[in-house]
């Protein structure tokens, strides 16, 4: 028989996937990205292929408000980045 320890068990967390990674982005006055720093390289944005905004969880203490951009870079890579409209920080995240 195993006695009940009567102690709180260790909480096992779900580990979230696809967490946003902070990234350096240079934007113009309108806020549109002009260049993205990937590793040691600063790559110019060749085209903004799409952009969209999400506003969610506005009822919580830390609501989510992000402006996503799908960018075609000068070397042909396509990356998705977003600007957090509350903290004004940039992050890279597959959508």
């Amino acid at each position: 028989m195993v006695a009940h320890p009567r102690a709180a068990a260790r909480a096992h967390r779900l580990r979230p996937l696809n967490q946003p990674k902070p990234i350096r982005v240079e934007a113009d006055e309108s806020g549109e990205p002009q260049a993205v720093v990937l590793g040691r390289e600063c790559l110019a944005v060749a085209a903004v292929q799409d952009h969209w905004r999400i506003d969610d969880e506005w009822w919580r203490e830390r609501p989510v408000s992000r402006l996503y951009y799908l960018l075609l870079l000068e070397d042909g890579q396509v990356v998705t980045v977003y600007q957090d409209l509350i903290g004004l920080r940039w992050a890279r995240q597959a959508y």
């Binding site: 195993v2 009940h4 096992h12 996937l17 696809n18 969880e57 959508y95």
Partner: protein, 401 residues
């Protein structure tokens, strides 16, 4: 035998005051249809436990009305009982079924056996009151007597923070001026005692036993004996049932039931992998969901037959979660299995698909787990696949076949 009774008056109100700063200085009524518990101020306005809530609000219109959170009160009371077990080897909660009753009476009352303790009862009681206050912030009263009833009356008639010891043989004299309403009898008996003009326990004690028994039957005999200070009811120490428990805290509060079921699958997998479950099956499963507004939803499930089958448990869990009144995002899920029995053998199908391959994978993972201490294999699970926030859609959980 000397027994101490610890009474924390208005336990539910005190618990709510500790939990919510915004009601710390307000008049409080707890209940839904009827009043479960009320603060001292509300009681002074005429409200009392058991009264209809509409009537209580009419008497005390400035009071804050809170819905009863029984699982939370029960948890806090269990913490107190655990603490009391450090003071005495035999501790009894006032009434194990009290949480099923819709009345605040009895919640917050516990009995301790003082037999074999080297300390004198009064210093013991003073130390207990002080330690309880330091640890939990509850101010209790303690009554000490030769029986449970007298000890309880002593605790209920003494101001919080004080102890009252009734000397051996002095029970009847102590109880004599006490109101008959404190006797453990039915409402009908109380009403009839009033009709006979019996207001105090002493007045009841002065009657011959035969007359009381003729009027009130076996209940009459019992309350007459109690009034005489004769209390043969033994102390029934708590029985700790063997159980295993796992809980999962969410990195962001969940708003979907599907995600809750997914989390439940992970927890069941962990529970069924524990050594305590080796070759055994569980008869009962308790679910506990903590919501972001501080409330808690609990559900106890009894299986038709003891089971160790994850899919069977998950099926029951799913149906419970689908009907659960979850009024706020979910912060934590806990599952407890208990009522262990030997697992019954089940005949597998002759052509059982890819069972062999699965067993090989499971065995490999078991070996890796033995080597590294935890399963190095993770499983991707859908959490909120429809979420607009990408990191909410999927998560990794330990793969534990």
């Amino acid at each position: 035998m000397r027994i101490a009774c610890l009474n924390i008056p208005r336990f539910a109100v005190e618990v709510e005051r500790q939990r919510r700063n915004d009601v710390a200085t307000r008049l409080i009524l707890i209940g839904d249809g009827t009043v479960f518990d009320c603060s001292l101020g509300a009681e002074a306005s005429g409200a009392k436990p058991g009264m209809r809530m509409s009537e209580a609000i009419g008497l005390c219109h400035r009071a804050v009305v809170l819905p009863p959170d029984m699982p939370h009160y029960q948890r806090r009371f269990e913490e107190v009982l655990d603490f009391l077990e450090d003071y005495s080897p035999a501790v009894e909660a006032s009434d194990p079924s009290i949480l099923r009753l819709r009345s605040g009476r009895g919640l917050g009352i516990a009995f301790l056996s003082l037999d074999g303790l080297s300390l004198e009862p009064e210093p013991f009681a003073d130390g207990l009151i002080a330690s309880l206050h330091r640890r939990f912030g509850f101010m209790a009263a303690v009554g000490i007597a030769g029986g449970k009833f007298t000890a309880r009356v002593a605790a209920q008639t003494t101001r919080p923070g004080l102890a009252k010891a009734v000397p051996s043989g002095g029970e009847a004299a102590f109880l004599a001026p006490i109101d008959v309403a404190l006797l453990p009898c039915s409402g009908d008996t109380l009403r009839r005692l009033g009709l006979f003009g019996l207001r105090t326990i002493g007045e009841l004690a002065s009657l011959p036993l035969a007359a009381v028994q003729a009027q009130f039957g076996p209940e009459g005999r019992r309350i007459w004996e109690l009034a005489q200070g004769i209390d043969r009811e033994p102390l029934r120490p708590l029985r700790r049932e063997e159980s295993i428990r796992e809980h999962l805290a969410f990195y962001a509060p969940l708003i979907s039931r599907q995600a809750l079921v997914t989390a439940g699958r992970g927890l069941l997998s962990r529970l069924l992998g524990q050594p305590a479950m080796n070759g055994r099956a569980a008869r009962r499963m308790a679910l506990q969901v903590l919501l972001s507004d501080g409330r808690c939803w609990e559900r106890a499930i009894v299986f038709r037959e003891a089971t160790a089958d994850q899919e069977q448990m998950l099926c029951v869990l799913r149906s419970a979660v689908e009907t659960a009144p979850l009024t706020a995002p979910i912060e934590e899920l806990a599952i407890e299995l208990s009522g262990f029995a030997q697992e019954m053998g089940k005949q597998e199908g002759f052509f059982s698909g890819n069972g062999r391959q699965r067993r090989q994978v499971a065995e490999s993972i078991r070996q890796l787990k033995a080597r590294y201490g935890r399963s190095p294999v993770l499983q991707i699970v859908e959490v909120e696949p429809w979420s607009r926030i990408p990191e909410r859609r999927h998560a990794l959980i330990d793969y534990d076949p």
